[in-house]
């Protein structure tokens, strides 16, 4: 075999390995999803969605859990969305390349990498103890808002950065002020991208269990929260709870709840992907 034949053979071999690696993750994912669906799908019915928790696996439902999840979702969005966008706009449009803005940037990159459980510790001291919010929805939502804030800021900045310089120049050249330019040109043009980021961040929040466990979200909450000060549980915690029970029937419940949680996450991600796709199609600079 000549050298170049050998090279070509290695090239082919790697290609095969590449296909293998690309699909191994997906195959595992598929096995997993199928396993979950087989285990849980039969358990899902109207009762399961509308029942309160119960000691009997067969009559336990996830009403309080998904209601809590929706509450958390909305509250976190209300808190993190305006803050994140404002911070993103400031950093991308206003901040001069000073030491301070550089520091802000490092800081945000760092926050994005802080493990979620640390945010739990922060929430425990700051919201639960110091602000005396207890294990309430509000404490949970605040904690998760801080967790997703860096993600929203980073994606907002990316979306804003994708608005071409020329659009800003065009606006400035017509005598528009900075804020007018941001408000009339930059934000409308980047809104799709920002929304995508916010939704992705929320889908992250929906799946979080660790920080909520740390701030003390409860195991047995047999009522649907009606105000932000109510105690709550969320789907991931309910799943964690059921998963740690040894009886097979509860594992089935966990699988069923996982299907619902995944539906919510995939739905959010799907919307985000769709928005991004539409955005990319619609606006060609």
């Amino acid at each position: 075999m000549t050298n170049s034949e050998k090279n070509r053979l290695k090239d082919k071999a790697f290609q095969v390995f590449g296909v293998f690696c690309t699909f191994i993750g997906l195959v595992v994912l598929a096995i997993f999803l199928i396993d979950i669906v087989i285990e849980g799908i039969a358990r899902i019915d109207w009762d399961f969605l509308t029942s309160l928790p119960s000691r009997r696996a067969a009559s336990a439902g996830i009403l309080t859990a998904w209601a809590g999840t929706i509450w958390i979702l909305i509250l976190s969005a209300l808190i993190a969305f305006p803050l994140g966008i404002a911070a993103g706009v400031y950093l991308e449009e206003y901040a001069k390349k000073t030491k301070l803005s550089n520091f802000l940037e490092i800081n945000i990159a760092n926050l994005a990498g802080v493990p979620s459980i640390i945010y739990g510790l922060l929430g425990l001291e700051l919201f639960v103890r110091f602000m005396k919010l207890g294990g309430s929805l509000l404490a949970g939502a605040l904690t998760l808002s801080l967790l997703i804030l860096p993600i929203i800021i980073v994606t907002t900045r990316e979306a804003i950065r994708a608005v071409p310089r020329t659009i800003r120049d065009g606006s400035f050249a017509l005598g528009a002020s900075k804020w007018q330019t941001v408000w009339y040109q930059v934000l409308p043009s980047s809104f799709g991208g920002i929304l995508t980021g916010v939704i992705l961040a929320l889908s992250r929040a929906v799946g979080e269990a660790a920080p909520l466990i740390v701030i003390g979200a409860l195991a047995y909450v047999p009522f649907v929260p009606s105000s932000p000060m109510d105690e709550f549980t969320v789907l991931p915690i309910q799943i964690f709870n059921w998963t740690s029970r040894p009886q097979a029937a509860f594992l089935t419940n966990a699988a069923a709840a996982i299907i619902i949680l995944l539906l919510i996450t995939f739905l959010l991600n799907g919307v985000a992907v769709y928005l991004r796709h539409r955005q990319q199609k619609k606006i060609k600079w």
Partner: protein, 307 residues
Amino acid sequence: SCGGNSQEGGSDLSGSIQIDGSSTVYPITEAVAEEYRAEAPEVKVTVGVSGTGGGMKKFTRGEIDIVNASRSMNASEEQTAGENGISFVQLSVAYDGLTVVVHPENDWVKDITVAELKKIWEPEAQGTIMRWNQIRPEWPDQEIHLYGAGVESGTYDYFTEAIVGKSHSSRGDYTASEDDNVLVQGVSTDPLALGFFGYAYYEENKSKLKAVPVNDENDSNGAGAILPSLETVKNGSYAPLSRPLFIYVSSKAVAKPEVVDFVNFYLDNAGDLSEEVGYIRLPDNLYKEQKQKFQQFATGGATANKQ
């Protein structure tokens, strides 16, 4: 099984009741709370699982209404309660037989003595008693993996008291959890495991666990090694690991009518429900006694800081 003899429905009650504490008692309280939902749908009952110790801390600080307990309140907790102006009543709700378990495939452990348990669990064992054959030479030369209650749990206090001889004193190098489910998971999937937890958790998962007969080497309460069961716990021959389970209600809480209603409901149904979840019911007259005790406390005995 529920609510037969309680008040005329009481369904117009509303408000919230916060309960926390023992994981051992949790299944009973959970069952009661669930049945109570039919009784008073507007009352929001939340039940946490912080372990008896954790629950007691919250209870004595006045953060919760009722604490589940798998041991009696200790002196320092009583003191804190006093400092915070909280008086309380202790109510027995069921019996438990703390069960020692191994993996079903474990074919060497036929029984175990209290002395051996002490050898395994005492603080001195930490880092030294690591293999089965260190306990009994005929047992295999393999690692022993220990699973037990976490330090915040009453089970832990009770077990260390009964086995090691000193409450809250044990080795620390084992899988410790306040959540007995985790321990069941661990023991049932680990052939080298040995663990302990409340009877209900064994009862629920019998097929995946093997209970070990315990020999207290005291023939006065039954000779030889004894398995926990309805019988042996009730008649006290499963010693020293039989114990009563409690709830405590605070003086502040009984000011709320929904709490009074709930506790009455609890005591009315504790027998059936504790049996249903795998514990051993008290004799009926004892439940009556508990009700009276509570009645007294609720109607003005709030000063009587009695157990």
